[in-house]
């Protein structure tokens, strides 16, 4: 039942996104982040600090780029390095005492049968609130392999992007990770907005 509702919502969101694109792009190309080029998600990049140029360069308020967690790839870990600041002090329950996201945009909830006594004995779902997220990339950097599984990436949200001819982020990005892609490619399911 819940799965059906979620699927319907996702399809509706995808259709809505398609409507946006059809209206805004007129069959042209659209901007998207290439995760294999982005410093925050690219394997082998050992930068300690996340690149936040998507936040600081975009002409859209907060940024048209937001972090997205692809749930099918997520490890559903008890201690998620993208959710917790894993370098913070450990609390009395043995958990990191601080969250990583400065805007508190990630929610964590146990899923399935729950063991209230032992938090490590549960699976967790991590959901990013796109209205809070400003695409700073911190969670993306911490989710990257080998520390995480790389389920969180930065994505251009088409209901926020104003489709500048010359994207300010693409101009600023040192890795040329902002690319123009054809509209059909932009509508692949991985880009569908999660509305759970």
């Amino acid at each position: 039942m819940n799965q059906n509702v979620t699927r319907r919502a996702a399809v509706a969101a995808l259709a809505g996104g398609a409507g946006f694109l059809a209206h805004k792009a007129h069959g042209q190309v659209v901007w998207q982040v290439n995760a294999s080029k982005c410093i925050n998600s690219r394997l082998g990049e050992t930068t300690v600090e996340a690149c936040n140029l998507c936040t600081s360069s975009c002409v859209v308020g907060l940024s048209a780029v937001r972090a997205v967690n692809e749930h099918s790839k997520c490890g559903r870990c008890n201690i998620c390095p993208a959710y917790f600041n894993i370098t913070s002090a450990v609390d009395e329950k043995g958990m990191p005492s601080e969250k990583l996201c400065p805007r508190d945009a990630i929610t964590r909830k146990p899923i399935g049968k729950q063991d209230p006594e032992d938090p490590s004995n549960n699976f967790y779902e991590y959901t990013i609130d796109e209205e809070k997220c400003d695409g700073c990339g911190r969670c993306v950097m911490k989710c990257k392999e080998p520390l995480g599984l790389g389920s969180i990436t930065l994505r251009v949200r088409y209901d926020k992007c104003v489709l500048c001819n010359r994207c300010a982020i693409s101009t600023a990005c040192p890795k040329d990770a902002l690319e123009q892609i054809p509209l059909p490619a932009a509508l692949e399911p991985g880009l569908a907005r999660r509305t759970e």
Binding site: T46, G75, C77, N78, P81, I86, M95, D118, N121, P146
Partner: protein
């Protein structure tokens, strides 16, 4: 106790002693010859690291163990391939359901233990390859928490299984029947005795101590049989992107660790006091 790196074996390349794409498992036979599983091959090295022999496996090799009879067990996708001491195929145990992805193999009494990463569990098999019981699934999450996709365990002299449960940041001890006997380890970033990140340790081996490897950052550590932290044996020598570093305990405190990025085997010896 301090350790020093004494040898580097293998490496990335196309030479016979090297590995092209993967290095996934280590084992020793009774003569002290090192067996390494990688690509779709098994390679045997003498104690000085010289390649003595190699042969092909049917599928990419994911793990390896050598029985006291000299038979070599190779874990693969959906099967265990068994070679006689002359490296000829003796048997193949196929079981897509119970042996989905065999990333660890061990022995306890008359049983063969297989770490099935697809099932997030350890299968205890009889001498005919039939699953007798499953270990590690009697919990709230239905198995070992292995976001890295690898089950790893070691077996001590009493037949107690020490399994890595990285999602719980601990090493768990199980009886052959699957009873959880205890565990040690906790999450901690600053304290080297703790396990950091989302999921560590990733690999376990039993010898004079309990040896574990971690990822992000990659480390090789040793604990006492009681779970007391013994120290970090090595860290900087691994590629920073390494994960699921196979580890193996040898005689006289020798420890082997395979870097899955650089595709070489590092050998560490305790320093003489």
């Amino acid at each position: 106790m301090k350790y020093q790196q004494s040898l580097v074996i293998g490496g990335k390349g196309s030479e016979p002693h090297q590995f092209a794409q993967s290095l996934t498992g280590l084992a020793l036979d009774r003569r002290g010859l090192l067996h390494a599983a990688g690509d779709a091959e098994i390679k045997v090295y003498d104690p000085s690291g010289r390649l003595m022999s190699k042969w092909r496996t049917e599928r990419p090799a994911l793990s390896i163990a050598v029985a006291s009879t000299g038979h070599v067990y190779c874990g693969e996708e959906e099967q265990i391939e068994i070679f006689d001491p002359a490296a000829k195929t003796a048997r193949v145990w196929k079981d897509p359901k119970m042996l989905g992805r065999v990333t660890a193999i061990g022995f306890a009494g008359n049983y063969v233990l297989a770490g099935d990463a697809a099932g997030r569990a350890i299968r205890r098999l009889d001498s005919a390859g039939r699953t007798v019981n499953t270990i590690g699934t009697d919990n709230n999450v239905g198995g070992l928490l292995i976001p890295n996709g690898t089950v790893s365990f070691g077996v001590d002299g009493e037949g107690v299984i020490h399994a890595a449960n990285p999602g719980k940041h601990r090493v768990e001890r199980y009886s052959g029947e699957g009873e959880l006997l205890g565990h040690f380890g906790r999450f901690h970033f600053q304290d080297p005795a703790g396990f950091t990140g989302c999921c560590n340790p990733t690999s376990v081996a039993i010898g004079d101590g309990i040896y574990v490897t971690e990822k992000a950052p990659p480390r090789l550590k040793v604990y006492g049989k009681d779970g007391q932290f013994g120290g970090v044996i090595a860290a900087e020598c691994f590629d920073p992107n390494s994960k699921n570093i196979p580890v193996l305990a040898g005689a006289r405190g020798r420890v082997y660790a395979a870097d899955p990025v650089k595709l070489h085997i590092l050998v560490f010896e305790p320093e003489a006091v």
